[in-house]
Amino acid sequence: MQEKIVEILNKICGTDETKNHPDLNLFESGLMDSLGFIEFLVAVEKEFGINISPTEVAREDIDTVNKIVLFIRKKLDSE
């Protein structure tokens, strides 16, 4: 699953930096902005079939690849 997420992020951020830095803060590093975040939510819905609403989770809880994986895993488990 981590690979899929990294793949999605690479496409959105235009770089594959996240592959080797799963704890890099996506927002602070400038890799992801508000549009990127929205694209990410749309892509995750398409890929994993789960719907994440914009205010469901605070930005600081999904600003690195590791946190994202954790969050999606939890969401998939609860559905």
């Binding site: 902005d33 549009l35 749309v42 914009p54 205010t55």
Partner: protein
Amino acid sequence: MIPYSSSFYFYILALSVLPAIALGLLEKRIDTYGLIVSILMLLLIFSNSREQAIFLLLFYLIELAVAKGYCLLRPKFRSRGLLWTSVGLSIAPLIFSKYVKIFAGHELGFLGISYLTFRIVQMLVEINDGLIKEIGILNFTYFLLFFPTISSGPIDRSRRFIKDIQSRLTRSQYIELLGEGLWKIMMGVGYKFIAGNLIYSFWLGRTPKNITLLHAIDYMYAYSLYLFFDFAGYSSIAIGVSYIFSIKTPDNFNRPFFSRDIKDFWNRWHMSLSFWFRDFIFTRFVMTSLKSQWFRNKYTASYIGYILTMGLMGLWHGARVFYILYGLYHGVLLVATDLFQRKSAWYIKHKDKWQWKFASTAVTFNLVCFGFLIFSGYLFK
């Protein structure tokens, strides 16, 4: 009695926080007391205007009905139409109040109605998202009428607020929060009643009445600084008082005049408003347009999103030309900034240099001040 404007208000405020502090130190829940005190405060605030008090009561009942109603109906009817109807009903009092002003001359509403409406719409949208499953009347009332932030925000979020009510703080945790709260109150008082007042008395209030280019520039900087110290000061006091009630209301300002560009500015100025518009208008508009593929280019979606969101933000301040222009001005600036940052090779080459950051901050400061000049209505006198 206007909140935070008279020594009488501060006297009552000081009396009202004492039991809260006692409860906090004894590690007891503060929300029951907080709710009672909020209602009493409201009675005091609207004591000399029966019209406002009645409107507030009607507003409360309407919003409670809409929120409770939508929450009950949502599991049965998943239609978008139901959401739009509920949101429409919830903002109807605000629209009514603003437009009656245009036709009847005086405002028929109550202090804070613009801010309270945000809280309801947030709840409705999150009920639709499935994030809120129930509306408890007491928690709803406390969140909506929480007195420290009723007049001008910050705009809190219900789930975050309720989580704060439910978390039991130890005495030492509460003392830390209390200390922070008292510090924020003092800082806010310094900002609003010292800095803001000085700027008004010696600068803003003394700008010449006739409009020339030089006078406009003078007014522009004076007004911008005054607006900041007055509003950030108020916000700090409101947040500090919330802390005493063990509610960690989010901050509203984070060194906004040091923003490196306009995008950064909206992460630092009136943050609770900016983030609300981002989360409930911008993100949802762009998300829908991407999923339904309204536009060929995703950037087109985001640019229209910026103009729409900022335009609405401007309009929310009031139905005046200069408010709408203020919003559109920032919308256009955001679009221009994004285009520039994506397409300019010069930017990409120099963006990490300190000279660029310095220059960019200075330019942003001036763009922002010009925006406030529009906002002040000075150019339309």
